[in-house]
Symmetry: C2
Subunit: 396 residues, 2 copies
């Protein structure tokens, strides 16, 4: 069989040969190694005892339901709770606006399945969330790169992209992955108005919105959209506020779209794990998640502060970085002549890792950029890691 | 936005308009109604207390790991255990041969993603598992219908299908969904030899193999394949032996294919729920699943016997049905002039439901067939349901 597999693969499987960087990062699993590369929450923040108690409660109270096949759209009480939490006086959402997904990554896959035919165009921020590109490469999307800066995606530069009849626009307005940047209110308003004028669906991915370290929250694109003609699809997850091992995310959108996505999900994995959904519902409904959140925020705020201070101390003046007000990532721009992938090899020798920024760019730019994660490592390890990285950079 | 959604959907989303039958079956949720339509396990068989205890154990022993992001390929101890259970003296499999999926349905989706480009041909049994067709419709597969009879898929009739350069052949050799039929040993041997001669991958879906009521198990296609040049991809799940609400299934195949599928899964849902995987691992490793299985088998055997006896008593001589030796389904062939979808409306008025057989046929045949499930309803309700269905049929 051996030589017959390759010729039978689909175009998308042949195109997706995996990441050399991922292979490189597998070298970094020794304990003395400091990885700032991943996007993992702090395991110290997982409320293990509360999750165990919730599992016990939902199994003893609704065991037969929690262990049976269940609705593709998701556990109805959880859908209702999600709808209720995003509803406002102007935007009254119901369970019909919500579909539960197997983590937020599945939301990206299902939207690809529902919208993208081979060669279809989609607008993404440049740089954008790498795993969104991975999800949509499977549907042979063609990316239109929307420029962004420290104020987020710039709507003033979208006209030539909107003119190319894209299927949707995808963005991460709060504490973006990879840059940590937050889109300003003015730009949010402009973007929503543009979307409505062009009847272009906007996908607002918001996994990090609750991880806010300072100031008040800005209104979401969903909250700014016309409630009677909803053109915004909002994605979120409990991966950052509870635990990613429970694979629970959701899509919020108009009921007509939610029904379409449910048809796609039915053939994809039937439904999201019922026990995971019931645990998540229990921990939101009892108020635990809200009560638990400030401790995560305090932890990540401290780690961000440590990282920014260490960057100031150890990085040369020729580099610059973002100052995220929440989330999990800082984005560094190196001198134009530095290739971050080459720097990574040198950094690994110093015992520290990051993710080179190039792959986050749909247009192949960004070779001199890198993403640093501050949520997973302890403050001491972040400080040491940045010092090592500064060394690697100076010697490079 | 309202009128702009439709025009933005992908071809596959537009083609998948949902099932009128599924809508009809939504009428059947009142308690006095008897549904023989679904494919649900008996909820009385769910080991609620043992699953709750396992959740508690794995969370207290490995909480941080069980709640964190984890490997796309699956929880390594579970992969090892699955490999060990299918290994024989001739076929030594390891974790590298196994990828854990979010239920068996996801295995179908991922194999579609990895193998099928628009218009590609795949061979399926006629009739075949409906949800496999749903999964692969998303990749715009073209189906080649392989004839089957009471001895299963007939390899003698495959030559004209093999000649059309299909990507793979898909079959359910044990207690097939929808027919309940089991492929004979001779045909298994012929099929494996044919697959090897044509270098055509065989997908062996085996969700029901453990639900065996009589006689010894036949060797799987995987066990019959050349261990040095594995051309069989085997799928299975814990949905029928433990609980489907825990979404845990797996793909067994050559390591090269498993790596490809892992790349596809990464963009699809990152990984399968870590808590679910750890619970399943615990309950297999401690021997509980093996200990629990005979009680499920005894329960389903009794229900099958009740259904076959009731069919004998209440169905006219012009009908015939299969005599499954395991699994969850009986398949009925009605007189050629009866349309089972029309009969379903009459049956629902009598307070009983089944699934018409037409949609299981990739070639549009089978209008006079139906699938009956015996795993979910109690023996009393099965007997009453078949009596009602006999009435509906006589009055039709």
């Amino acid at each position: 069989m051996t030589n017959s597999w390759e010729r039978r693969y689909s175009r998308r499987a042949k195109a997706n040969t995996g990441s050399a960087i991922r292979a490189l990062l597998k070298l970094t699993e020794q304990p003395e190694f400091i990885s700032l590369a991943g996007g993992l929450p702090a395991p110290e923040s997982f409320p293990i005892a509360e999750i165990a108690a919730a599992a016990d409660t939902v199994l003893h109270e609704h065991g037969a339901a929690v262990l049976q096949y269940s609705a593709t759209e998701g556990y109805r009480p959880l859908r209702e709770l999600v709808a209720q939490r995003v509803s406002t006086t102007t935007h009254q959402l119901t369970a019909e606006n919500v579909l539960i997904t197997s983590g937020s990554q599945q939301a990206l896959d299902l939207l690809g399945k529902v919208f993208i035919d081979s060669g279809d165009k989609v607008i993404v921020e440049s740089p954008t969330y790498l795993a969104a590109l991975q999800a949509w490469n499977a549907y042979e999307a063609h990316y239109l790169a929307a420029p962004m800066d420290e104020a987020g995606l710039d709507p003033a530069q979208l006209a030539p992209l909107f003119a190319q009849d894209p299927k949707f626009l995808y963005c991460v307005p709060n504490f973006q992955n990879p840059t940590g940047v937050t889109m300003t209110l003015e730009r949010r308003q402009q973007l929503v108005a543009l979307g409505a004028a062009h009847q272009l669906p906007l996908i607002e991915d918001d996994p990090y919105g609750s991880l806010r370290f300072e100031e008040d929250a800005l209104p979401s694109l969903l909250a700014l959209a016309d409630p009677d003609d909803l053109g915004v699809i909002q994605l979120s997850t409990i991966s950052k506020t509870l635990a990613p091992g429970l694979r629970v995310g959701w899509i919020i959108g108009p009921p007509e779209l939610i029904s379409r996505v449910a048809l796609a999900k039915q053939g994809t994995d039937l439904h999201t794990g019922s026990l995971d959904q019931a645990i998540v519902h229990h921990l939101i409904a009892t108020g635990f998640v809200e009560h638990h959140l400030p401790s995560i925020v305090a932890r990540y705020r401290e780690r961000r502060d440590v990282m920014l201070a260490a960057l100031n101390e150890h990085f040369p003046a020729s580099t610059s970085w973002t100052h995220p007000t929440g989330g999990m990532f800082v984005w560094v721009t190196l001198p134009a002549e530095v290739d971050a992938t080459e720097l990574l090899s040198a950094a690994i020798e110093q015992g520290v890792a990051f993710v080179p920024g190039g792959p986050f760019h749909p247009d192949g730019s960004g070779r001199n950029t890198m993403r640093l994660n501050f949520s997973n490592a302890s403050p001491e390890r972040i400080a040491t890691g940045i010092a090592r990285l500064g060394n690697a950079l100076r010697e490079f």
